[in-house]
C-alpha cells in the first residue's frame, strides 16, 4: 500500500486546488474585484477555471496511473484523496454518527470532475464575449465560480451529508444565476420557481437521508452501498396503515431530491422557465452539470436503490414518461432556448430511465451483478458524458444566434448560416449527435441505454427510448432548419457584427467531443464505469462486454432508421424553402395548442402554490403570527409601558410630592428603626 499512498499524496495538492481555486475566485470577485473592474474579474475567473481544468486533468491522469493501474489496492476503484472529520453526532453510549468532508475519486466522479471543469472553463471564455456589455458581469463571474466550486464539491463527496451540503449550494447558485437580471420580473419569478420547487423536493431528500443514515449507522456511500446495510434496512416499521418498508421509503425519499433536481415530471416545470437566465448559465447549469446531479446521486446509491423493491421501477417510469412527454412538447415550442430546455428534460428522462432499466426483471435485489445492470449503469453515465458536450454547444450557439438577431423567437430567425458560418457548422454536428446519428457521440451512448433495456426485458423503456429518439431527431431538425436555413424572417437586418472570437472558439472546441466522445470514451465506460458489485468481480465485466456486443444487433439499425425518419420528416415540413409551415397560430387544432401550452402542468403547480400553499397554509400561519405571536409581544410591551408610565408619575417635578414621598420614607425608616433599637 506504500506506493499507493505515495501516489495518492501527490494528488492531494491537486485535489485541494480543484476545490480551492474556484472558491477563491468567487470570494475575490464577489467581495472586491467584481465591483472594481469588470475585465479583471472576468479574467480572474476564467484563468482560475483554466487552472482548475489543468488540475482536473492531472488528477484524472494520476487516478488512471494509481488506481486503475493498481486495482488490487483500491476496492471498487475508489480512492480517498483527502478527508477531514467534519460532523459527528453522538448517538449515545459513545457511538458517533459521523460525516467527513473529503475528496473521493472513483470512475464516475473522475468523469464528472473532468466534464465540469472543461465545460465550466469554456463557458467562462464564452461569457467574456457574451457579457462584454453587461453591467454587472463582475457578479456573474463570481457566481459562476461559486457554482463550479459547489458542483465539484458535490461530485467528489464520499457521503450523503457532504453531497446534500453542496446540493443546496448548487441550488442557491442556480437561483442567483437564473435571477441574475433581477430587474426583470420574469427572471425573478423563474428563479423563485426553480428554488422553491427544488427545495420542496430537497425536503424529502433530507428526510430520506436522515432516515437511512440513522438507521444504517452511517452516511458514507461505501457503507450504504454494502449489501449488509441494505439487508439491515429491509424491514417494516410502523403499525397498521402507517406501516412501510424502511428501505423502500428511505430510498424513495432520497430519490425525491433527484426527482426535483433533475426535473422529472411533474417537477420539470422549473427548467424551461430557468431559461430566463443568461445563456451561459443555461449551458453550464441547466444542461450539462447541475441537472444531472440527480442522475449522479441515483448512480451513487445504485446498489442501495436496487435492493429496494420498487424504487428502481419508479426511477424508470418517471424517466421514461418525462423523456416522451418533454420530447412531444419540444416539437411545438417557438422559443429557441425553450426548445433546448425541453430537449434537456427529455434526455434527462432517458438517463434516469436507463438507470431504472438496470433492474432485473421481476425486481429482485442486486445480489447478482448482472451484466445488464452494468450496461444500464454505464450507459446512463456515458450519456451524461456525451450529452454535456453537445447540449452545452447547442446552448452556446443559441446564445450566438440570440446575440445576432436580438430575439429569442425562432419565428424571427432564418437563413443565419450565412452570417454565423462557424456556429452553423458546429451546431450541425451537435444536432446530429443529439439526434443519435452514427458515428457521432450521441449514437453510442443512446445505444448502450437501448441495449440495456432490451437485454433486461424492459420493453416499455425500450419503446420509450426509441420513440424519444425519433422525436428528438424531428424537433432538432425543425430547430436547425428554421434557424439556419430558409429566409430571414426577422424585422431588421440581423446583427452584422462578425462572430466574436470569444464566443465562437468555445463552440468550435465543443464540436470535437460532441463528435468523437463516443469513440474516445467508450472503452473507459464499458470497462470501468460500472456499479460496485460489478467492479468487485472480474467476471461481471466480461458479462457486460458480451451484452453489448452480442444479441440485439438489430437495435442500432432500428434506432438509426428512426433518427433518419425523424430528421427526414423535419426536412419535409421545414426544409425545402417552406417558410410558414410549422407556426400554427390560433387556428391550430386543439390538440396542438394543448401540447404547445405544455399540457398546463405549470398552471396546476401555480394553483397548488396559490390556493393550497397560500390560502390554506400561509394565510392561517400569518394570522397566528400577527395575532397570537405578535399579540403576545404587544401585551408584554404594553405592560412594560404602563409600568413605566406609573413610574414616571414619581418624577412629576412637583416639589411637594417629592417632599411627601421623602417624608414617608423617613418616617418609615425612623419608625422601624426606633422600634427595633431597644
Amino acid at each position: 500500500m506504500g506506493s499507493a499512498d505515495a501516489g495518492m499524496d501527490s494528488l492531494k495538492l491537486a485535489a485541494y486546488g480543484i476545490l480551492l481555486l474556484p472558491l477563491l475566485s468567487f470570494l475575490i470577485n464577489g467581495l472586491w474585484l467584481g465591483k472594481k473592474s469588470r475585465t479583471a474579474s472576468a479574467w480572474l475567473a476564467t484563468l482560475a477555471m483554466g487552472a482548475t481544468l489543468i488540475l482536473a486533468v492531472a488528477v484524472a491522469l494520476g487516478y488512471r496511473a494509481e488506481v486503475l493501474g493498481h486495482p488490487e489496492a483500491f476496492a471498487f476503484r475508489s480512492a480517498v484523496v483527502w478527508e477531514h472529520t467534519w460532523m459527528a453526532f453522538p448517538t449515545g453510549s459513545g457511538a458517533f454518527l459521523a460525516a467527513e468532508a473529503g475528496f473521493h475519486l472513483d470512475p464516475i466522479s473522475v468523469m464528472m470532475v473532468l466534464v465540469i471543469a472543461f465545460i465550466s472553463f469554456l463557458v467562462h471564455v464564452y461569457s467574456m464575449g457574451y457579457l462584454r456589455d453587461a453591467a454587472a458581469s463582475g457578479r456573474f463571474f463570481a457566481l459562476l465560480s461559486f457554482f463550479s466550486f459547489a458542483m465539484l464539491g458535490l461530485v467528489v463527496s464520499g457521503n450523503l451529508i457532504q453531497t446534500f451540503f453542496f446540493w443546496e449550494l448548487v441550488g442557491a447558485a442556480s437561483y442567483l444565476l437564473i435571477g441574475f437580471w433581477y430587474a426583470k420580473p420574469a427572471a425573478v419569478a423563474a428563479a423563485k420557481k426553480a428554488f422553491i420547487l427544488t427545495r420542496l423536493a430537497d425536503a424529502f431528500f433530507l428526510m430520506g437521508l436522515l432516515l437511512v443514515g440513522y438507521q444504517a449507522g452511517g452516511f458514507d456511500f461505501a457503507h450504504l452501498n454494502h449489501p449488509a446495510t441494505a439487508a439491515a434496512l429491509d424491514r417494516t416499521v410502523g403499525a397498521g396503515f402507517l406501516a412501510f418498508n424502511l428501505l423502500t421509503a428511505g430510498t424513495l425519499l432520497i430519490f425525491m431530491g433527484a426527482w426535483g433536481k433533475s426535473a422529472l415530471f411533474p417537477f420539470h416545470v422549473w427548467l424551461p422557465d430557468a431559461m430566463e437566465g443568461p445563456t451561459p448559465v443555461s449551458s453550464l447549469i441547466h444542461s450539462a452539470t447541475m441537472v444531472v446531479a440527480g442522475v449522479f446521486l441515483t448512480a451513487r446509491l445504485y446498489p442501495l436503490f436496487s435492493a429496494a423493491d420498487i424504487t428502481l421501477l419508479v426511477v424508470e417510469s418517471a424517466g421514461a414518461f418525462t423523456a416522451l412527454f418533454a420530447a412531444v412538447i419540444a416539437c411545438t415550442q417557438t422559443d429557441l432556448k425553450r426548445i433546448l430546455a425541453f430537449s434537456t428534460l427529455s434526455q434527462l428522462g432517458l438517463m434516469m430511465m436507463a438507470l431504472g432499466a438496470g433492474a432485473p426483471e421481476g425486481g429482485e435485489g442486486f445480489s447478482s451483478a448482472t451484466g445488464a445492470a452494468s450496461a444500464a449503469y454505464s450507459g446512463s453515465m456515458f450519456h451524461i458524458f456525451t450529452h454535456a458536450f453537445f447540449k452545452c454547444l447547442l446552448f452556446l450557439s443559441a446564445g450566438a444566434v440570440i446575440h445576432a438577431i436580438h430575439s429569442n423567437d425562432i419565428r424571427k430567425a432564418g437563413g443565419l448560416r450565412k452570417i454565423l458560418p462557424f456556429t452553423y457548422a458546429a451546431t450541425l454536428v451537435a444536432a446530429l449527435a443529439l439526434a443519435g446519428f452514427w458515428p457521432l457521440s450521441g449514437f453510442f451512448s443512446k445505444e448502450e441505454i437501448l441495449h440495456a433495456a432490451l437485454s433486461n426485458g424492459h420493453y416499455g423503456a425500450l419503446f420509450a427510448g426509441l420513440a424519444t429518439g425519433g422525436l428528438t431527431a424531428f424537433y432538432m431538425s425543425r430547430y436547425f432548419l428554421l434557424v439556419f436555413h430558409g429566409e430571414y424572417r426577422g424585422g431588421e437586418a440581423p446583427g452584422a457584427r462578425r462572430e466574436g472570437l470569444l464566443m465562437t472558439v468555445p463552440i468550435l472546441i465543443l464540436a470535437l467531443p460532441s463528435a468523437f466522445a463516443g469513440w474516445m470514451g467508450r472503452g473507459f465506460f464499458t470497462e470501468y464505469v460500472l456499479p460496485w458489485p460489478a467492479l468487485a468481480g472480474q467476471g461481471a465485466m466480461a458479462a457486460a462486454g458480451d451484452t453489448l456486443a452480442g444479441a440485439g444487433s438489430w437495435l442500432p439499425v432500428a434506432a438509426g432508421l428512426l433518427a433518419v425518419a425523424g430528421a427526414g420528416f423535419g426536412w419535409y415540413r421545414y426544409g425545402l424553402g417552406k417558410k410558414t409551415a410549422g407556426f400554427p397560430g390560433r387556428e391550430a387544432p386543439a390538440w396542438y395548442r394543448v401540447i404547445a401550452d405544455k399540457f398546463y402542468v405549470d398552471e396546476v403547480w401555480l394553483f397548488l402554490a396559490k390556493r393550497v400553499g397560500g390560502s390554506w397554509i400561509a394565510a392561517p400561519a400569518a394570522w397566528i403570527e400577527v395575532r397570537i405571536v405578535n399579540g403576545a409581544f404587544d401585551l408584554a410591551s404594553g405592560f412594560l409601558r404602563r409600568l413605566a408610565f406609573v413610574q414616571s408619575l414619581f418624577h412629576s417635578g412637583q416639589v411637594q410630592w417629592y417632599m411627601a414621598v421623602a417624608l414617608l420614607g423617613l418616617l418609615l425608616i425612623s419608625g422601624l428603626g426606633g422600634y427595633w433599637i431597644p
Binding site: 411637594q656 411627601a660 417624608l663 414617608l664 418616617l667 425612623s670 419608625g671 426606633g674
Partner: protein, 178 residues
C-alpha cells in the same frame, strides 16, 4: 398654676401655628408665624433655658422673621387672597401629618419614658443646674469632648457660605458683563 399657664401657652402656640398654615392671606400668615415664635420663646423661658429664649427672640424673630416679612412685602400683593389647595391634596397632607405626629410622637415619648424615672417627672433639679451665661460661654469654647468648640468654628463657615450663596443667587445679573 404653672400648669394652667403652660396649657394656655400650648393652646396659643398651636392655634397660631394653625393660622400660619391655613391663612389665605400671606401677610397674616407671616404675622401668625411671628406669634408662634414669641410663644416659643416664652416656652423656653418656662423651661429655664433663658439663653435660648434670648437667641430665639434676637436671631429668629429679629433676623429671620424680618427677612421673611421683607420677602413677603417685596413679592406679593399684600391684600391678596391666595388660592387654597385641592381636596385631594388636603386629604393626603392630613394623612402625612397624622403619620408624622404618630411616628415622631411615639418615638419621642418612648425616649422620654426613662427607665429610672427619677427625673422624668418635672422634678426640677437644684438651682446649680441652671445654665448660667458664664457656664454656657465656657462650654461653648471648650475644646474637650464635651465642648462645642468645633461646631462653633464650623458654623462660622456655614454662615459665610450662606452669605455668599445668598448674594450670588439673589443678585441682579442684568447689567453685568457675561
Amino acid at each position: 398654676m404653672r400648669d394652667a399657664f403652660f396649657y394656655a401657652l400650648c393652646a396659643a402656640l398651636l392655634g397660631l401655628a394653625g393660622v400660619t398654615v391655613l391663612a389665605r392671606n400671606l401677610f397674616r400668615a407671616a404675622l401668625a408665624l411671628l406669634g408662634v415664635l414669641l410663644c416659643t420663646a416664652v416656652l423656653f423661658m418656662l423651661l429655664r433655658a433663658e439663653m435660648v429664649a434670648l437667641v430665639q427672640v434676637m436671631v429668629y424673630i429679629g433676623g429671620i422673621m424680618i427677612f421673611v416679612l421683607y420677602a413677603v412685602l417685596l413679592t406679593s400683593e399684600l391684600g391678596g387672597r391666595m388660592p387654597g389647595p385641592s381636596p385631594v391634596k388636603i386629604a393626603a397632607s392630613v394623612f402625612c401629618a397624622a403619620l408624622a405626629f404618630g411616628v415622631v410622637g411615639a418615638l419621642a415619648s418612648r425616649a422620654g419614658r426613662a427607665d429610672s424615672g427619677a427625673s422624668a417627672d418635672g422634678a426640677a433639679p437644684g438651682p446649680d443646674n441652671i445654665a448660667s451665661l458664664k457656664a454656657l460661654g465656657l462650654r461653648l469654647l471648650d475644646p474637650g469632648p464635651d465642648g462645642f468648640l468645633i461646631p462653633f468654628e464650623l458654623i462660622s463657615l456655614v454662615l459665610l457660605a450662606a452669605m455668599v450663596g445668598a448674594i450670588a443667587i439673589a443678585r441682579d445679573d442684568k447689567g453685568r458683563a457675561p
